[in-house]
Subunit: 387 residues, 2 copies
Amino acid sequence: MSLDGERRARVALSFLAQPGDLVLGAALRIMSPAGLLAAITGADEDGEAVLAAQMPDAALARALPRWRDRLTEVPSTARLAVWQQSGLRIIIPGDPEWPTQLDDLGDARPLLLWLRGSADLRLTCVSSVSMVGSRAATGYGNHVAIEMAAALADHGVGVISGGAFGIDASSHRGAMAAGGDTVAVLAGGLEFGYPHGHADLFAAIIGGGVVASECPPDRGPTRPGFLIRNRIIAALSRGTVVIEAALRSGALNSARHARELCRPVMAVPGPVTSEQSAGCHELIRDYGAMCVTCAADVLEQIGLPGDSAGILRLGPATPRDALDPVTMAVLEEVPARGGRGPASIAVRAGVDLDTALRCLGVLAAAGFVERSNLGWRAKRLASSRTA
Amino acid sequence: MSLDGERRARVALSFLAQPGDLVLGAALRIMSPAGLLAAITGADEDGEAVLAAQMPDAALARALPRWRDRLTEVPSTARLAVWQQSGLRIIIPGDPEWPTQLDDLGDARPLLLWLRGSADLRLTCVSSVSMVGSRAATGYGNHVAIEMAAALADHGVGVISGGAFGIDASSHRGAMAAGGDTVAVLAGGLEFGYPHGHADLFAAIIGGGVVASECPPDRGPTRPGFLIRNRIIAALSRGTVVIEAALRSGALNSARHARELCRPVMAVPGPVTSEQSAGCHELIRDYGAMCVTCAADVLEQIGLPGDSAGILRLGPATPRDALDPVTMAVLEEVPARGGRGPASIAVRAGVDLDTALRCLGVLAAAGFVERSNLGWRAKRLASSRTA
């Protein structure tokens, strides 16, 4: 593996620091990866002084000895060549295949990604959704994940997940069943290939998609490593859907990352009698996650249109010209964008406030209008929504 | 049945006009029930002139002949006496048993209510929840309705529903199973007793609760009558829970009434694969209904505390004093009431916006803070929440 200086330095640093090391990220704001590596190895004593001057907190002083202790783990060129021959490739920020949305992670941006697979990671993620959920998924959850992933793939949307048992696996499989691209971001190294029971799944994914990890290839996953990995799953896509999750499930951690990144967080409801849906209901109830029931809902949330060949899910129950004149007058004053308060609508429509509120209720129930943050607005008709 | 003048007039009017007749309601803003009756019968020609002068639209002119056509239906004193002997009683606005929250219905306020049962309607409804849903409920929906109604009854909350098959019946039965009071508001008259298959259910309800209707006792329900009746179910309680509802179900109409009355609208999620939960998901997704999974959620929404004997559902995952100093500083600036934007929190806590957002995410995930319409606020700790 012929590596330029920055790439070589990033590989070395990835063997010294843990994934998501925020002190390392902060240090890389001050100097280049090669410069930082020289400061760590002691090849550049001035470099260490520069760091110490610009990072005056104790974190750096604690981190440097930790990083130095691991210098023996930096792989030889020969070891890297073996991984290259097994089909691994490395991408770093600035590469054409680097998904620039990972830059939203700031200091927690991965140093690099190890990839295996025939797809281009960046292109696959341009229009993609992360689907996460419980390892101990129920038949219901697996069914929903497969159907949703397949429908998203049908619409050209990439499916990103974590390669775990349960919802992750069903999401990958659903996308592949529809001939779509899927990306598995593993918490351990790609040669370690955890969970081993998914060797066949990973082999299938790399046939048309990508398996990715920021970890050194032969490193196994650690317990905190799963949570740290979740930030990459959240950052790669336009939004994260939680299919099934018990309370305090790791999937909720993915949802938190997505929210911190200002990406839409969506949750699929399920039976309130199912512990595996309790986390989803909590997300909807307490954390403002959007309740999504099908791929069409997801496409709407991430701002991608469905196509007109899709199934009509819901149109107004009443045709517009069946409305009574007063209700029609109120509807005329509901704007298509933004929103307008009921009092303002009442004045413009020439009716009293009670009448306006009653008509707005009728119009909302019939699917013509909806509430927005700014008041009432006309609802986009659902003729092109898909199941 | 010895009736005073107003009571006698309201009974007569209830045989002339359909339930929820808004023209009648508007006329009763101008004159007393007895005065209106005299104007209709022709005993007071001046009365009709007063009405015509003060209600200058065509609605009154259309309504008067319709009401007059039905004068022959006004029951005799003897017929009323028979109903009285069968255990029916009449309440009208101003009676001690009249639930004053029905006045929120404005012109659509019922003229009167026929009641049968041993409970006091007003007392039963002071702290009550309406539970509505599909007639074609699934085993899941019936199970949830029974459990939720029983848990609400355990907390002294009255359960109001419509006496229909499915969710209505399960809600009534759940409340009674826990020894609680329940109110069935029927769309037809109490002697007609629709649906007939629920004769035993109604007999059980009147043992400890109330069966109520605004319709003349021997009148059968009409199709629009069910929708008109729903306003009473919504108005009697502090909030309406939809357990299961297909898209365009009548239960959604109850939810709309509740929203128009500014009462909380709640919906229980279910499998996205179930048509009987599609209406609930639509309420949550598109109409801002609160996602509720248990009686504790419902109590929280209607502003009633659970009791400390209940099951702790969720507390912060992290103890407060395990928070790092920066996160603690951010938490200190999150107000307990109202809300504060992240930028303002950042300035007060002396951190940058990114840090504030990250800390708020951590605090939200740990259950310390939540988003409100006004920004972030501290979350009431869940030590007394019940399942």
